[in-house]
């Protein structure tokens, strides 16, 4: 049985568990064999916070070299081109970027938490899609999505942090006030006192719209944060709250039958 990988990628089927580097949780896949055979996978945006497209994502081998060359030349082949093997990660990343761009272009409220088709001409919406997919320095930052996408929606106050297995845990005083109705919250951590707190901070150069958080309770949240395990430490500083993708959920389960 031969798989044509680009089609598999476009169907968003990954037959291996993929670690979502940014989110810090694993998207899953499974094969069950019983009275029937089925495959399922979870659809997550690779970057659930930002709207800007990523790059070529192959990490090893000849595919990385091929993608490096294509990146250098600035060209992308048709997906069924047999001369150049594009990695499934790159294909899925590009498709995710197009999906985000279309959500921004078609829906109102910059595509955030909305189900309502926005007003405006189809041409204007298509231009928004194109603006989303541009090279960084070619973007028009005065219009959607970049004029408001990375706006702060509030500031909360961390008072202590710890880290276990590359997940940071934060307590706040007062309560953070973030609604559990949404799972698209993120933060830009900016701590300025406390032992070792710098490693908890989030660089907007790397994560322009912060990193996603998981709400534990009214005064506690977690976020992916690589580093050594750290005991609870009192801190001062801010957590700048952002909104990314989602609504009630950003996950999508797919069955292939």
């Amino acid at each position: 049985m031969i798989k044509t990988t680009y089609l598999q990628a476009l169907h968003y089927l990954n037959l291996s568990v993929e670690q979502n580097e940014l989110l810090g949780v694993s998207a899953g896949s499974s094969i069950s064999i019983g009275s029937s055979l089925s495959f399922y996978d979870i659809f997550n945006f690779k970057d659930p916070m930002d709207v800007a497209p990523g790059g070529f994502l192959a990490t090893t081998g000849n595919t990385r070299k091929t993608e490096g060359l294509l990146n250098g030349i600035g060209y992308f082949p048709p997906l069924d081109d047999e001369n150049f093997h594009i990695s499934p990660e790159t294909i899925q990343g590009a498709m995710s970027s197009v999906i985000k761009a279309m959500l921004v272009g078609v829906l109102d409220n910059n595509g955030k938490r909305s189900t309502t088709v926005g007003i405006g001409s189809s041409t204007a919406k298509a231009e928004t899609v194109i603006n989303t997919l541009r090279e960084p320095l070619q973007r028009d930052l005065t219009v959607a999505p970049f004029n408001t996408w990375r706006d702060s929606v509030g500031i909360i106050t961390p008072t202590s942090v710890s880290r276990t297995n590359n997940v940071a845990i934060v307590t706040t005083t007062p309560a953070h006030g973030l609604s559990t109705q949404y799972d698209d919250w993120g933060v830009v951590m900016n701590l300025n006192s406390g032992i070792g707190t710098a490693s908890f901070n989030i660089s907007t150069s790397t994560y322009p719209n912060g990193v996603p958080i998981r709400i534990i309770n009214s005064t506690t949240f977690t976020y992916p944060n690589t580093g050594i395990n750290t005991d609870w430490t009192a801190v001062s500083g801010t957590a700048d709250v952002r909104v990314g993708w989602g609504g009630t959920s950003i996950n999508l389960h797919l069955y292939y039958t």
Partner: protein, 410 residues
């Protein structure tokens, strides 16, 4: 080539409206919007690939809207039974087995098998210990490393492609030089191989870049050396016509232009000929060769068939060297020029004022990134700014040239 939209296996007021509008916007974008594809991230510059992303992305985008809407029916939560592709007795009949195979993309063609081999080799290099399907003699060379490094350029900061640039670039350049190769020459060999596979216009684009970097200047005509593109002049002409014919009703892309009679007389433009400014948007390789050019046609393309008679342009760069034109008489792009009229491009002398310490990356920076093409151009000039090309201290800082191709006999 119309869109092949997938069925959306769920419905609802919000999602139905979204799907309908998604298709309208996608079709507007794909068929009617004359955007410049070279300013997009590379993954979106190929129309065929973009079309597939739009088609396949619809299900996922619709599912997100369906989940947000929160109304009942398939696709509203994480219950697998409500997934867009519901579980069934998947392999119970030949038809269902075929459906599964098709959804997985299981195709036993030679190309698919090679792809599969390569893909599996990525996971386990021992599958191809002799690299029979690898990148051949270049594997493991500095250029091979460069191909790797191209991936890393700019990746550390999504909004600033210059971050970390110099150390990577200089390392690779030093390695190439140790092999007694010139970096840009090596890059162009690769680029010619790659782009030529996509279209003969790739050979033209690479040949023009090579001519600029060789620094020969002058006027490029139908009788000049066309390198590997020499055998494809007719196909090149046909692709220019095809582009104009597709966009002829879009005034942004194909717009009538007035040139003075002196130039017309000098270039054999007849009273019935038409002159247009043509943006080669949505056509990456022609855009790489010309960007925007002036084209003489045998007639108005809106009124019937026509022939491409002549194309004129200046091959210069706002991050490298530019030719200053007076636009008086025949002193327009495509005409012979005096080397004293070559100056640093706009990115190095905005408003005519040289930025003396402008860096290579900074010069490229303002216009976006096609590393393999822009880097050699900007790097040939190096850091700095010169009002006159001849003042540059290097033996070969690159040199622009003009293009005046008479297609009458091609």
């Amino acid at each position: 080539m119309t869109f092949n939209w997938p069925d959306i296996p769920f419905s609802g007021t919000e999602v139905d409206a979204f799907v309908a509008e998604y298709k309208i916007v996608a079709e507007e974008l794909y068929y009617h919007l004359p955007y410049d594809s070279t300013i997009l991230k590379p993954q979106f510059r190929n129309d065929a690939a973009l079309k597939k992303f739009l088609e396949y992305g619809l299900v996922y985008a619709a599912f997100i809207v369906k989940q947000r809407a929160g109304n009942s029916g398939p696709g509203t939560d994480f219950d697998l039974g409500n997934s867009p592709y519901g579980p069934t007795d998947a392999m119970s009949t030949p038809e269902k087995r075929k459906h599964l195979m098709q959804n997985l993309g299981c195709i036993a063609t030679m190309g698919a098998m090679i792809n599969c081999w390569k893909d599996n080799k990525e996971k386990d290099p021992s599958l191809d210990p002799y690299d029979e399907l690898g990148s051949g003699s270049r594997s493991g060379t500095p250029i091979s490393d460069l191909m790797d490094e191209f991936n890393g350029f700019g990746s550390s900061d999504p909004d600033d492609p210059c971050t970390g640039f110099y150390s990577k670039y200089d390392d690779v350049k030093d390695e190439v030089h140790e092999q007694n190769e010139v970096l840009w020459s090596s890059i162009l060999v690769l680029a010619d191989e790659v782009l030529g596979l996509f279209s003969i216009n790739g050979h033209v684009a690479v040949h023009f870049l090579r001519k600029y970097l060789e620094g020969t200047g002058g006027v490029f005509t139908e009788n000049s050396s066309w390198g590997r593109a020499a055998a494809y002049k007719s196909a090149h002409k046909a692709s220019i016509k095809e582009h104009i014919n597709y966009w002829k009703n879009n005034s942004r892309t194909v717009s009538e232009k007035t040139l003075n009679q002196t130039w017309k007389d000098a270039n054999g433009v007849s009273a019935t000929d038409k002159i247009y400014q043509v943006r080669f948007e949505r056509n990456f390789l022609l855009a790489s060769a010309y960007g925007t050019a002036t084209v003489v046609l045998s007639g108005d393309p809106k009124l019937g068939d026509f022939e491409v008679k002549r194309l004129i342009d200046d091959y210069d760069f706002f991050y490298g060297w530019e030719i200053i034109r007076s636009d008086i008489g025949i002193d327009i792009p495509g005409s012979p020029f005096n080397d004293l009229n070559i100056t640093s491009g706009e990115n190095r002398r905005p408003g005519g004022n040289c930025i003396q310490n402008q860096t290579v990356c900074g010069a490229i920076d303002r216009g976006g990134f096609n590393w393999a093409i822009r880097l050699p151009v900007a790097d040939a000039m190096g850091q700095g700014c010169w009002d006159k090309w001849e003042d540059h201290p290097s033996d070969n800082p690159g040199k622009p040239f003009s293009i005046n191709i008479n297609f009458d006999n091609i």
